[in-house]
């Protein structure tokens, strides 16, 4: 029973990682850049939601929508100002710019909301469900997190598979020049990707802070790195891979904390990543690119 409890908790935190990892993987797939500022967009989303519920007294659902709206705009602005001028140059240059954006967001948040941690009230008001005479407890947060991430996954799969914009996104990630020749507006497609990724980051931020209720300007960085790891684990650029990687990472983290060692959970999680990459260098569901000579 204990195992099941840990497994459920692992899936719940893994689902949050998965939503964040989706943002990383989509941006990487399309713009071929590691967007290290993604973790901080999560933090901004959580702060917006916090402000709307605590200062304006509006219901939770409104706060989530507000957070998504603000993060979407933020994502588009960041892309237009910081990343777009560097398109086509060294990926390292874009990486450093992304780090600059990350510093900027963290320090702006510190200026606006101060560095003292805020106590985030969970957006879920559901009572925990006790199964097997209370030996297995599923909290409302766990249920909502898993449900939302499943919805996001299905929605995103349908979006990229069925809609015109989604197909354009896949085309751009496959071959940018060919997509442009087919009349796809590459710039707009990349903007859309950033918008979707940032909106997902807002959802992830609210869910993350509902589970772990301390909100600080640095809240997003560690989950950001974890989720990035998850994206690589599943095969960066692949949407199902990000989901799989996120949930696997969550489960590994929770189980290793429970059974192996609390202090060394970081080391264990990253070791698993290294071992998987050695066996499958492009991640679990990533495509192995053949080298042409």
């Amino acid at each position: 029973m204990q195992v099941l409890q840990y497994l459920i908790n692992g899936i719940s935190i893994g689902a949050v990682y998965a939503i964040i990892a989706l943002g990383y993987t989509m941006v990487y797939g399309i713009a071929k850049m590691l967007n290290f500022a993604h973790g901080d967009v999560i933090m901004v989303g959580a702060y917006i939601s916090f402000c709307v519920t605590n200062y304006l007294g509006l219901p939770a659902i409104v706060s989530v929508i507000a957070a998504m709206g603000v993060c979407t705009i933020l994502g588009i602005i960041i892309e237009k100002l910081a990343y777009k001028p560097l398109r086509g140059t060294s990926s390292l240059a874009v990486l450093i710019t992304a780090i600059g954006v990350s510093y900027f967001l963290q320090n702006a948040a510190q200026l606006i909301w101060s560095s003292s941690p805020k106590n985030f009230t969970s957006i879920v008001t559901m009572d925990p469900i006790a199964l097997f005479d209370g030996r297995l407890i599923i909290t409302g947060e766990v249920l909502v997190t898993v449900l939302i991430s499943a919805l996001v996954m299905v929605g995103l799969t349908l979006f990229t598979g069925k809609t015109k914009t989604g197909k354009a996104m896949r085309a751009v990630s496959e071959d940018r020049d060919a997509a442009q020749l087919m009349g796809i507006n590459v710039n707009q497609t990349i903007s859309t990707t950033f918008a979707i990724g940032s909106a997902l980051a807002a959802i992830a931020g609210v869910l993350l802070c509902s589970t772990v209720p301390t909100l600080m300007p640095t809240t997003g960085s560690m989950p950001g790195i974890r989720a990035f790891t998850a994206a690589v684990l599943g095969g960066i650029g692949s949407i199902p891979g990000a989901m799989l990687g996120g949930i696997l990472l969550g489960i590994i983290e929770t189980l290793s904390k429970a059974y192996l060692s609390t202090q060394f959970s970081d080391a264990i999680v990253f070791s698993v990543l290294i071992i998987i990459l050695l066996v499958k260098p492009a991640g679990l569901l990533g495509k192995q690119v053949q080298e042409k000579v």
């Binding site: 001028p85 510093y103 900027f104 320090n107 790195i225 970081d266 990253f270 290294i274 260098p281 000579v293």
Partner: protein, 357 residues
């Protein structure tokens, strides 16, 4: 000497050494005349450490073309091994300088060995995957170092990775106390040692770059397949660069660790690795003098802006983004080319801007 100066490479190298030596002499003179504030004096050793780290990372990122996001991990390994060695030698070796040198060599060796062990799996990967694995190794090293207990008591030397297994006898002393880090460290580091560290790092890296190995490493960076086809052992050369870089980072780490009375493993996290990478990229990849200058400027910049308090880091971020945009953006490059062309045109009438062919 004349022959040396004719060669463009050795000329740039000489300039690099000269800049560092002159900077050292100036700072040392100012220091001896007591013209430096205590805060400025406190920055000197970490500045030397960061310069060495930037130069050693440049060997990996700029010369070898491998993006490494775990440089701070090697620094941490070096720092804690250095602290342990310096504390162990306390009774036997009288001279502080000798102890510091021993600690730095031990730190470098330990980091070099780790670099070799890590290199075996890491160097099988390429590009962004290599970057993420070095990130993972950096975090693993930080995690392990942060949970290591090293101490000494009457029965001898103790080492454990869990607090329950660590039983020090009466009068025992912890060198590294798990998450609390190393406390009560003797401050052995000084500016002259820092300067020597920078010189050694420069000497090793510059000589490596301009040697047969260095040319092979650059060939691997520019075209791996072509390099392989002319008989260059790609993995061996990448490994060489990786281990040398780790060794130098370990030495710098040891000096860094012995500059503070207390230090924890959290100092050597992802952010530190990223900061070093920023020094390298802004200084110009593969440009060693650039690394030295950008590490100096970027280390001093946030410290100099301390008066601005909360706005300091936000300004730093804005400066970082703007510098990246101005130096890398193709549009901006075009604009500056046109601008400089126009200025040249003023002095050389008759020739149209940007139309010199």
């Amino acid at each position: 000497m004349k022959q040396l100066l004719k060669n463009k490479n050795s000329r740039t190298n000489m300039i690099t050494y000269l800049v560092v030596i002159v900077a050292y002499l100036i700072m040392q003179t100012l220091n001896s005349m007591d013209m430096l504030g205590s805060s400025v004096r406190g920055y000197l050793v970490p500045l030397c450490v960061y310069i060495s780290l930037a130069v050693s990372l440049n060997l990996l990122v700029g010369i070898c073309g491998e993006l490494s996001l775990g440089h701070a991990g090697f620094m941490g390994i070096g720092a804690f091994s250095g602290i342990v060695i310096a504390s162990l030698l306390k009774g036997t070796v009288q001279s502080d300088t000798l102890r510091l040198i021993a600690a730095m060599i031990a730190g470098g060796a330990m980091a070099g060995v780790m670099g070799f062990l890590i290199g075996i799996p890491v160097l099988r990967l390429r590009g962004d995957y290599l970057a993420i694995v070095t990130l993972a190794f950096g975090e693993i090293m930080k995690n392990i170092v942060g949970n290591t207990y090293v101490g000494v008591d009457d029965t001898g030397f103790h080492f454990a990775i869990s607090p329950t297994k660590m039983r020090l006898g009466e009068g025992g002393k912890y060198f590294i106390n798990g998450p609390l880090g190393a406390t009560g460290v003797e401050k052995l580091a000084n500016f002259t040692m820092g300067f020597l560290l920078v010189m050694v790092t420069l000497f090793v890296v510059l000589n490596l770059i301009n040697s047969k190995e260095g040319r092979a490493i650059r060939a691997v960076r520019d075209n791996r397949i072509a390099a392989e086809s002319v008989g260059i052992n790609v993995t061996a050369f990448r490994m060489k660069a990786f281990v040398v870089s780790a060794f130098l980072a370990g030495m710098a780490g040891a000096l860094f660790g012995l500059n503070y009375s207390a230090i924890t493993a959290t100092k050597f996290n992802f952010n530190t690795s990223i900061n070093i990478l920023v020094f390298v990229v802004l200084g110009g990849m593969g440009n060693i003098l650039g690394s030295v200058i950008s590490a100096t400027v970027l280390y001093i910049l946030p410290e100099a802006m301390r008066g601005l308090e909360d706005f300091r880091m936000i300004l730093y971020a804005v400066v970082l983004i703007l510098v990246m945009l101005f130096t890398w953006s193709p549009k901006f490059k075009e604009a500056t080319a046109v601008f400089t062309g126009k200025i040249k045109g003023i002095f050389r009438p008759g020739k149209e801007a940007g139309n010199n062919e």
